[in-house]
C-alpha cells in the first residue's frame, strides 16, 4: 500500500492448513462428556472444522488460523461432503499466493501502531483490568464518533459495549437475545458464523437469498445486482422471528445495501417487532461513490438495532481483537449481562490504542488525511487491479461496492472441466479451489460455504478472493495468472 506511506512488505503467503475434523467422532468415547451444543457431532450430521498450522518451515511465522478467512468452514457445521484434505502437504509443495485469508498483509497505519506503543509504554496500570463494559476513553470516543454518524445521543455507559472483536459482539448479542425456538433471519450469502451462533443460542436460522438480476451479456456482474425479493423477505417473518442479521457491506459478496433496501428491511423489522443485528465491520470500505448507511440511523430503528463494528477492520489491525456493539440500553443491558458472565473484561491496552486511533480519525474526519478516506481509496485500486487480472484467465469477478472481498464466477471452468478431483458430493467450487491451489498456486475460498446447506449446490460456481493485500502480493498473483493464461492456450 505505497500510497499510504506504509512500507511495503511481503506478507505471509503460506497457506493455512485446514484439518477436517478427526475421525474420533465416535460417541462411545468420552465425547459423551460434551454438552448438547457439542453433541451436534452426531454421526451423519455436520461436524466442526479446525485448522492446523502451516508446515514447519513456516512455524515461526505468524500463521492465521481464522477459518472463515482461510476460506474453510468456521461454523459448528461443515458439509459431510468435505473429505480430509492435507493442505499442509500442498502448501509445502507449492508456493501459493493466498487470496483467501480475510485480513490485510500490510501493517496498520503508523498512527495506530504508535497508539498501541503509547498504550504499552505509558501508564503501567494499563496492564491491569479496566472497566468491564469498556475502557472509558474508548467508550467515550465511540459514543461521540458514532453519535454523530447515527444522528443519535449515545451514552458511553448505556449504549456502548466493547467486545473481543466484532465476532465477540455478535456472540454476545445472540446469547443475550435469542432463545430456544426463536427464529433468526439470515440473508445469504452470509458470514458463516451467523448460523452456528444462532444454533448455539437454540435459535432457528431462516434463510433468504440475495438473487441475481440478469446482466447484459459481456458485462461484468455487480454485487448491487444481487437483491432481496421484497415479497420473499416479507414471507420469512413469522411470530417467532426474534432477529434479522444484516451485514453491510456484505462478506463475501461486497454488496452495499442501498437506502431503499435498508428501508425495506427496516419496515419489516418494525412491523414484526424484530431486532436488527447489523454487522457493519466493513463500513469504511465502500467504493465508487457508494455510501454506507447504518440502518440504526433510519427512523424507528435505533431502538431495535445493534450496530456492530470492528477496530480490526477499521484500522487494519485484526489481531487487536477489539470490537463494539452500539444500541439502546434496553438491548445493551442484556448484552452486558452476557458479557459479565462470559469474559467480563476486554484487554485494556488494545482498547487504549483504539481510543487513541479514533481520536486521530475524529480530528481528520472527512479530510484527505483520514485513514477512513485513504484506506478505501487505496483498496479500490487493489480491487480494480484484481478485477482486471482475474479476467485474464476466464474468471468472471462480480464487482463489489464494498468490503474486503469479491466473488468470481467460475461457470466457464465448471462447464469446461466439470470433473475435478474430489468427493462425489463435494461442491464444485471447493474442488476448484483445491485444484487452483495445486495447479495454479492461488488460494481463494469456495463461496458455497457462505450458504446454508440446502442452497450450496446452487452457488457452487463462485469463489471468494480477498483484495486487501499489499502490492507485492497482487504482483505475485499476476505472475501466477500469467502462467495460468499461457497454460490456457491450445
Amino acid at each position: 500500500m505505497r500510497a499510504m506511506g506504509v512500507r511495503t512488505k511481503k506478507g505471509p503467503r503460506f497457506l493455512l492448513t485446514p484439518e477436517w475434523w478427526p475421525e474420533d467422532r465416535d460417541l462411545r468415547d468420552p465425547t459423551k462428556r460434551s454438552s448438547g451444543l457439542c453433541r451436534a457431532l452426531e454421526p451423519g450430521s455436520p461436524v466442526p472444522v479446525t485448522v492446523k498450522h502451516a508446515p514447519p518451515d513456516f512455524a515461526s511465522q505468524l500463521c492465521s488460523q481464522q477459518l472463515r478467512d482461510s476460506g474453510q468452514v468456521t461454523s459448528l457445521f461443515e458439509p459431510q461432503q468435505f473429505q480430509r484434505v492435507e493442505f499442509s502437504r500442498m502448501a509445502s509443495e507449492y508456493d501459493v499466493v493466498n487470496l483467501g485469508q480475510g485480513f490485510p498483509d500490510f501493517p496498520p497505519p503508523d498512527f495506530a501502531v504508535q497508539a498501541f506503543q503509547l498504550a504499552l509504554s505509558s501508564d503501567f496500570m494499563l496492564n491491569q483490568y479496566t472497566k468491564a463494559f469498556g475502557y472509558p476513553p474508548l467508550t467515550e470516543i465511540l459514543a461521540s464518533f458514532f453519535g454523530k454518524l447515527l444522528g443519535q445521543e449515545i451514552d458511553p455507559l448505556k449504549n456502548v459495549l466493547v467486545t473481543v472483536g466484532a465476532y465477540g459482539a455478535l456472540f454476545t448479542a445472540f446469547q443475550a437475545l435469542v432463545d430456544e425456538g426463536d427464529e433468526v433471519i439470515i440473508i445469504e450469502p452470509f458470514f458463516d458464523c451467523y448460523e452456528p451462533m444462532t444454533l448455539m443460542a437454540g435459535g432457528r436460522p431462516v434463510f433468504v437469498t440475495l438473487k441475481l438480476s440478469p446482466t447484459q451479456d459481456g458485462e461484468l456482474d455487480s454485487a448491487s445486482n444481487w437483491q432481496l425479493d421484497p415479497t420473499e423477505l416479507a414471507s420469512k417473518f413469522t411470530s417467532r422471528t426474534k432477529a434479522l442479521v444484516l451485514n453491510t457491506p456484505n462478506n463475501p459478496l461486497g454488496k452495499v445495501f442501498s437506502e431503499a433496501e435498508l428501508e425495506l428491511v427496516a419496515s419489516l423489522c418494525q412491523q414484526h417487532d424484530v431486532i436488527c443485528i447489523s454487522d457493519e465491520v466493513y463500513q469504511w470500505l465502500v467504493y465508487d461513490g457508494h455510501q454506507h448507511i447504518s440502518i440504526a440511523s433510519l427512523p424507528g430503528m435505533w431502538e431495535r438495532t445493534l450496530t456492530i463494528g470492528s477496530a480490526g477492520k477499521s484500522f487494519s489491525a485484526t489481531g487487536w481483537k477489539v470490537g463494539w456493539a452500539l444500541g439502546p440500553d434496553r438491548l445493551l443491558k442484556h448484552l452486558r449481562t452476557v458479557h459479565q458472565n462470559t469474559i467480563y473484561h476486554c484487554p485494556t491496552q488494545g482498547q487504549a490504542a483504539v481510543a487513541q486511533s479514533f481520536q486521530h480519525e475524529q480530528a481528520h474526519f472527512g479530510q484527505a488525511s483520514s485513514y477512513f478516506v485513504q484506506l478505501p481509496e487505496a483498496v479500490l485500486r487493489s480491487r480494480d487491479h484484481m478485477v482486471r487480472s482475474l479476467q485474464s484467465v476466464g474468471l468472471r469477478p462480480v464487482i463489489p461496492q464494498g468490503s474486503y472481498f469479491l466473488i468470481a464466477d467460475i461457470s466457464d471452468f465448471k462447464s469446461k472441466m466439470p470433473d475435478l478431483p474430489g468427493d462425489a458430493e463435494e461442491p464444485y467450487d471447493s474442488r476448484f479451489v483445491k485444484w487452483m491451489i495445486r495447479n495454479k498456486g492461488l488460494a481463494a475460498i469456495p463461496a458455497s460455504i457462505f450458504y446454508s446447506m440446502p442452497h450450496r449446490k446452487h452457488f457452487d460456481h463462485y469463489v471468494r478472493f480477498c483484495f486487501v493485500k499489499d502490492e507485492s502480493t497482487l504482483q505475485a498473483m499476476d505472475e501466477k495468472l500469467q502462467r495460468w493464461k499461457t497454460e490456457l492456450r491450445p
Binding site: 466442526p48 498450522h53 492465521s64 435469542v178 412491523q271 424484530v274 431495535r304 489481531g319 481483537k321 485494556t348
Partner: protein, 454 residues
C-alpha cells in the same frame, strides 16, 4: 425506469413503517413500549447483578485506599512490559493468529506444564488460549455442562461459577468449607476443610462436574494431597469431570505446595486445568488465560471458542510467550517471577495479618493467593447508618468502612449463594497485591482506627 421503480419501492416501504409509527401513536404509547418481543433470552434471567460493578464503583473514589478488587497496583516485571513494547512494532503481529492459541504461546505453555504433568502436552490439541481464565471457565462450562446437569461448587466460591453454571442451564450444588475450632493458635486457611462424607453426599448420577479452586479465592486455602485425593476418588467413582481453577498456582507461601489434581492417577482424562497470565505475571489487563486437558475435553472448549470470540489478541499472546520463555529457562532461580512474586507477596501477607490483628480482628492467614479474609464483627462497628438495607452484614460493613474509614474491601458473602450468605456474612476480603505505599496508607487508616477505638 429502474430508478423510478426503486423510488416507488422506497416510498412504499416508507409508507409501511409510517403506518407502524402512526398506529402506535394512536394508542398513545411510545413506539418502544409496543415491543413485547424485545426481551432477553432466558439463559441470562436473573444473572444481571454483579458484586464487582457495585463495589468497584464505590472504591473508585481516589481518596479511598482500595484493598477490594483483586488487581495489582504493582508494576508487572520489566521484561514483560519490554516484550510487549517490542512486539507492537512487528507488523505481522497486528493481524489474526491461530484461533485456539498463538503458536509460540501454546508451545511455551506445553513446555512449562509438561514439567508438572507426567505426559507430554500436545500444544494444539490439549491447550486452548482464552480471554482470561474467566473465558476458560466459560468455555469449559458451555462446552461440557448441559441443561439438567448438576455441578458441585465449593463455598465460598469465585462469584462467576454460579451464574456460568446457571447460564448453561445446569444446577449448582453447594458445599461449604468449614473451619475447625482454633483456640489459641493463629487461624489458617488450612483450618478450612471439606467434610468428606458431606462431599460424597453431593454426588449423584446427575453430577457432571465439580469446580475446584486451588489456591482458593477468597480464603487462600491450598488443598493438600489428601484433600485432593478425596476429591479425585469421588470424581473417578462417580465418573465426574473436574474443572480446576488454578489461577493463583504460583502464589503459595512457605510450607505449602501447589498440587495439580490433573496429575493424580485417573484424573488427567477428566480434568480441565485453568491458568491465568494476569495472575502469573501481574498483568490482569492482558486478559489471557488457558485451559489444559485431554483432547476429548479440550476439543469441546475449542468448539465454543470458534463460535464465541474465535481468537484472542495476537500481540499480547506473543509477548506472553516470550515472557514465559524467559522464566521457563530459570525455574530454579530466585529471580524467576514464579519464585520472586510469592516471596514478595508473603511479606505483604504477613504485614496485612499483623495490621488486621492490631485492629483486634482475627484474620485467616492464607497459605496461597493474594487475598486475606477476616471476621469483622469483632469490631462491632456502628452500622446504624446502613440499617435500612436488607443486605448482609458484610455488605453493610464494607460500605460503612469505605465511607467512614476510606478503606475498601469486598464482602465475603458475595462469594456465597443466596441461601448461605449468612454463613460468611461476618467476613470481609482484603487484597494485598498492592505496592508498599498503598499498604502504608492502609496502615495509617488502621492505626487511626485503633486510636479512635481506645
Amino acid at each position: 425506469m429502474f430508478l423510478a421503480q426503486r423510488r416507488l419501492c422506497s416510498l412504499d416501504s416508507r409508507a409501511k413503517f409510517l403506518k407502524t409509527i402512526y398506529s402506535s401513536k394512536i394508542l398513545g404509547l411510545p413506539a418502544s413500549a409496543m415491543s413485547l418481543k424485545i426481551t432477553n433470552a432466558k439463559r441470562i434471567e436473573g444473572l444481571d447483578s454483579n458484586v464487582w460493578v457495585e463495589f468497584t464503583k464505590l472504591a473508585a473514589d481516589p481518596s479511598v485506599v482500595n484493598l477490594g478488587q483483586g488487581l495489582p497496583d504493582i508494576s508487572p516485571p520489566v521484561y514483560v512490559k519490554e516484550k510487549l513494547s517490542k512486539i507492537a512494532a512487528i507488523d505481522s503481529l497486528n493481524q489474526y493468529t491461530r484461533g485456539f492459541g498463538h503458536p509460540s504461546l501454546v508451545k511455551a505453555l506445553a513446555c512449562l506444564y509438561e514439567k508438572f504433568y507426567q505426559n507430554q502436552i500436545n500444544p494444539n490439541k490439549e491447550i486452548l488460549v482464552t480471554v482470561g481464565a474467566y473465558g476458560s471457565l466459560f468455555n469449559a462450562i458451555q462446552g461440557l455442562i448441559d441443561k439438567g446437569d448438576e455441578v458441585i461448587i465449593i463455598m465460598p466460591f469465585y462469584d462467576c461459577y454460579e451464574p456460568m453454571v446457571r447460564m448453561a442451564g445446569a444446577t449448582p450444588v453447594f458445599i461449604p468449607l468449614r473451619s475447625k475450632p482454633v483456640d489459641g493458635k493463629r487461624w489458617s486457611s488450612s483450618d478450612w476443610t471439606l467434610d468428606p462424607q458431606e462431599l460424597a453426599s453431593k454426588f449423584n448420577s446427575k453430577t457432571k462436574a465439580i469446580i475446584l479452586n486451588t489456591p482458593h479465592n477468597p480464603i487462600g486455602k491450598v488443598y493438600t494431597k489428601e484433600e485432593l485425593q478425596v476429591i479425585a476418588d469421588l470424581c473417578i467413582k462417580n465418573d465426574t469431570l473436574c474443572i480446576s481453577d488454578e489461577v493463583y498456582e504460583w502464589l503459595v507461601y512457605t510450607g505449602n505446595k501447589h498440587l495439580k489434581i490433573a496429575t493424580f492417577p485417573g484424573m488427567w482424562e477428566r480434568t480441565i486445568t485453568i491458568g491465568s497470565a494476569g495472575k502469573t505475571f501481574s498483568v490482569t489487563g492482558w486478559k489471557l488465560g488457558w485451559s489444559i486437558g485431554p483432547n476429548h475435553l479440550i476439543k469441546h472448549l475449542q468448539t465454543v471458542q470458534q463460535n464465541s470470540v474465535y481468537t484472542c489478541a495476537t500481540p499480547l499472546q506473543e509477548a506472553l510467550a516470550q515472557a514465559f520463555w524467559i522464566d521457563i529457562k530459570r525455574m530454579d532461580d530466585p529471580e524467576c517471577y514464579f519464585n520472586s512474586l510469592p516471596k514478595e507477596l508473603e511479606v505483604k501477607r504477613d504485614r496485612m495479618v499483623h495490621l488486621l490483628e492490631s485492629l483486634g480482628l482475627k484474620p485467616i492467614v492464607p497459605d496461597g493467593g493474594y487475598f486475606i479474609i477476616a471476621d469483622v464483627s469483632l469490631l462491632d462497628a456502628d452500622l446504624s447508618d446502613m440499617k435500612d438495607s436488607n443486605e448482609p452484614y458484610d455488605y453493610k460493613f464494607v460500605k460503612w468502612m469505605t465511607k467512614n474509614k476510606k478503606l475498601s474491601a469486598i464482602p465475603v458473602s458475595a462469594f456465597c449463594n443466596e441461601e448461605t450468605k449468612l454463613q460468611f456474612e461476618k467476613f470481609v476480603r482484603f487484597c494485598f497485591i498492592k505496592k508498599d505505599s498503598t499498604l502504608d496508607a492502609a496502615e495509617e487508616i488502621i492505626k487511626a482506627w485503633i486510636r479512635q477505638k481506645s
